[in-house]
Symmetry: C2
Subunit: 283 residues, 2 copies
């Protein structure tokens, strides 16, 4: 998996090299190659490997998902959104370049995601399904709805964990269900697409609460980012439930994910490894 990650980094870098040089391309490259954990790509590769499909066939899809993830971070960090200066230990895109270039770099990464997903060896029907999944999970009924709901909390603070969970389902869950959806399309195992999507969404909620816990218990140096939610006075699982209850919910979610996984036939060894890595992460 380590080799695969390195190969994927090279692939990702190469996707921008044919483009006409510009400040915006520099900014895209800066944010895309900024040392991300590549969680979503690794999930996609693991699922393909478990299905007996060469993970390399998922590179363009994983690249598209990573571009969408990166664009969402760039726009989320803007002064008019979360106003963050630090991302993965480096200045955020608008700090390193300018606000205008950060807007364009985000736009361009989102657009390019739809370009490179077509580069895979998949059939035309599969490509159509992949584009559909990307646009649905990333759009106004997916990730963007989550960001919208999240923003409304600035004027109407959350009062319950259920409200927060609804936001996380869209904001983090939908994008984490994308590698699952894409893997099912690529490996032609679409009969399990809903079950896998559910795992992605549960993992998204788990991931976000764990982030809140790490924000509270780790320094921003270890995390490589500022803890903007606290700065912005936003409700988190911890502020709503307390550290102990939040940690309990993380464990419950892990169990739910494992239960759901057991209901899907076949071996899930590679995915299990990624899952364990994610559950045990410290940053």
């Amino acid at each position: 998996m380590k080799t695969l990650k390195n190969e994927f980094e090279e692939y990702l870098q190469s996707t921008l090299q044919k483009d006409i040089p510009s400040k915006t391309r520099e900014a895209m490259n800066y944010s895309l190659m900024n040392g991300g954990k590549r969680v979503r790509p690794m999930i996609l590769f693991a699922l393909l490997q478990d299905a007996g499909v060469d993970p390399h066939s998922g590179f363009s899809c994983a690249g598209a998902i990573e571009m969408i993830h990166t664009y969402s971070l760039i726009h989320d960090d803007l002064p008019c959104m979360d106003d963050d200066d630090l991302r993965r230990g480096h200045p955020t895109c608008h700090k390193a370049f300018s606000e205008a270039i950060a807007v364009l770099a985000g736009d361009a990464l989102l657009t390019k995601a739809f370009e490179i997903v077509l580069e895979s060896d998949a059939s035309d029907l599969q490509k159509v399904k992949l584009v559909k999944s990307l646009s649905e999970c990333a759009g106004i009924n997916g990730m963007i709805l989550g960001q919208d709901l999240d923003m409304q909390t600035e004027n109407h603070p959350l009062t319950s964990f259920d409200e927060l969970k609804r936001i996380e389902i869209y904001k983090t869950g939908m994008l984490l269900s994308l590698p699952m959806r894409c893997a099912c399309v690529l490996s032609q195992q679409e009969e399990h697409i809903e079950a896998w999507s559910q795992i992605g969404i549960l993992l998204g909620i788990q991931f976000q609460i764990q982030d809140d816990i790490l924000d509270k218990t780790q320094t921003s140096e270890v995390l490589g980012k500022s803890t903007s939610d606290e700065k912005n006075d936003k409700a988190t699982a911890i502020s709503l439930l307390g550290l102990q209850k939040a940690s309990k919910i993380v464990l419950d979610l892990e169990q739910k994910i494992k239960d759901q996984l057991n209901q899907i036939p076949g071996d899930h060894d590679c995915f299990q490894q990624i899952l364990n890595y994610l559950i045990q992460r410290k940053y």
Copy 2:
């Protein structure tokens, strides 16, 4: 064509109605249904009609192009970009809502463009080609490159019309070539796709210089927008060439478009009508 435009307005409105309600969806609707001239859709429909294909088959494609056009205006109007308050006689998206919602509404319209282009009755292969055209013309080697180059002129003012033309090819031309590209794919006349693209790009340059001339000779009330290029001290065809030479170039471009058109076999009656309307427009 009038009936067709009304039908298209209804279709466009309907594309957002199934989405989950949110502030961002309101903002998308506000900007998308803001009385645009629908130039690109009408070009697409005219080309289909000339090719003997039912223009209704181009609705989803035209909707996608119009969403991309609208998203680019929303982001272009942002304070960190052109900082415009007025668009088509109404407050710009970030003025009517907020900067954050305007960023998200633009993102969501771009994403949705790729969702609705799949809704057409086209074959999977055609859909793949349409997605490819949309992403290439709108992306980092197309419209976004044009916006990037345009922004660089704030620090490095343009000194020649050729430099301005290069920007317009990308910023306006690529998006105006999209309805042509899509019509060629939908009517299965791809042997003429490059010739038609060229017409779109010439039309884009012509369109932009004509805009500059109208900005200079019409009031902002007639235009329904503020004349931000002048406000932002940006070079225009007029500031570089003077009104007389700029008007001469518009006429030259019109001739070039007609010459190019004559080289494409078949009847172009409907497109000719649109072309005449565009050339004679006063706002």
